[in-house]
Symmetry: D2
């Protein structure tokens, strides 16, 4: 198995939320994805591009077009996208026609800065999936590898299930 | 994509080391793997079997035969094995002739009980790999999916590389 | 030194904030103070009373009167109050006339559920201060023991300083 | 209340233990005390002196004499010493004749690098105690402030109790 570099595109979402006491609220802060990869002793080559810091409910069509264009233009064929979970499937649909790449979207239901979070596990799932799965668009959440065009988020239950 | 249940076999290793003050040392304790899967919001069906609690330098041929027999007899075709990293490749070799299963070995270089550990990320890699990769034996460490028969651990450097 | 039991009164505040993905926001949840004391191997006798779960900007005069009445009526002479930091000094003023007790208010600038938080340290400060300081009202924040009637929170700077 | 600077002397102990995979064992590493103080948003002035990195079972009379000399010679009157718990009371006895200083010894039963550790809480206890208690030698462990000359460690039970 060869090990070409992985492109990691961060767009915001709960995974990157931080609590700001002076504002009495949470906001998406500088991405912690690169730090997570370092703590996880990742030596596989990768490149991180922080595209935006948005809750996925606030992503516009222009934002999704930017995500698509970034991935399409990149030399990498293995791509991970960290993204808010609420509209992850909408972005996935826009990536479906990109050929020759294995693209995996993931995120988290609890911020990575929390002591107990699904963030590192989900990131690991995506990093493995982009290497092991066949080309196409995938979502890794709740311990499952999903075909990204055949999954939905059940918001109340806090989990992804087959659509 | 269908989602058959995953068998998770735990054998010990650094991933499960705990510090016992009364003994002034680290020992492998009750596996934390099931707790990690819960914290990671895994709803994908799985079953955990705690086979042993050994440092992989102490695994005997009988131990490895037991690991093999457990996996071969199980109904699951998707299998994750958590294992000490030092002799992970030796156990992998003994699993190579099991047909029709996707078996992924992983472990960690820092105990899962540490605040900063590669454990959750590596477990996520393995859980994704057993679903996405084709049948055979794999190792997920340091952010890479390796063919388990073509990798070695560089102990001094603390990482796995292509053999 | 004798070790009479400590009364720990929890009122909410950032220290107890949890992130709820289904609501896309942080809310004060079941207090984690008792869990923090357990993780910190506290064997000193104590009793936890969860009075309310409020951001301190939302505390009313009735809320503060309830906090005061609870402390005044309790048999314990050593008291810790976990509280939002924004109006901690207002509650402290209302406790100043309670005689014969050492009352220490503390809180946190980052939720205790975060991997990196001042919560456990601040709680430890308060638990020690109620045993070591003379009777009166104290605040422990930012590594300092303050006379509670002579301190203010500098909200923008995120710290407490002598008033 | 005034806030003179605190001297923090680190000597090793479980609080600073790290796991080294290449060695398959734990060792006392670079002290994490300064980082804990930073994470805990300590703005109170302090100075950290890393004297040694020893398990307290390995401290010699010369080591304890060095700890004593460092504290006696320092300008600070408020002193915290982080120390292995096994012979903490022995070192405390050697500090009892230093006049005019409030000296607090603490440590931890689980390494600070663990996700669940008593380390930050205990450090907070000591930092508060050196400001609030009267001059003398104290130990803060298990949620209690102890007169350091009247306490012992019950090793099997993993806790400190009145001697």
């Amino acid at each position: 198995m060869s090990h070409p570099p992985i492109l990691v595109v961060t767009t915001g979402g709960t995974i990157d939320k931080q609590y700001f006491d002076a504002l009495s609220e949470y906001q998406i802060a500088e991405s912690v994805i690169e730090k997570l990869l370092k703590v996880s002793r990742v030596t596989h080559p990768f490149r991180v591009v922080e595209l935006m810091r948005k809750d996925s409910l606030e992503l516009s069509d222009e934002d999704r077009a930017l995500i698509r264009a970034t991935i399409a233009a990149a030399p990498e064929t293995h791509v991970v996208v960290t993204h808010g979970t609420d509209t992850m499937t909408d972005t996935a649909k826009m990536l479906a026609d990109i050929e020759g790449k294995t693209i995996v979207l993931t995120g988290a239901l609890a911020p990575a800065r929390f002591a107990e979070s699904d963030a590192p596990f989900n990131l690991g799932m995506a990093i493995a999936c982009c290497q092991a799965a066949k080309p196409g668009v995938w979502i890794t959440m709740n311990g499952s590898v999903f075909d990204a065009l055949k999954v939905r988020k059940d918001r109340a239950a806090g989990k992804f299930t087959q659509a």
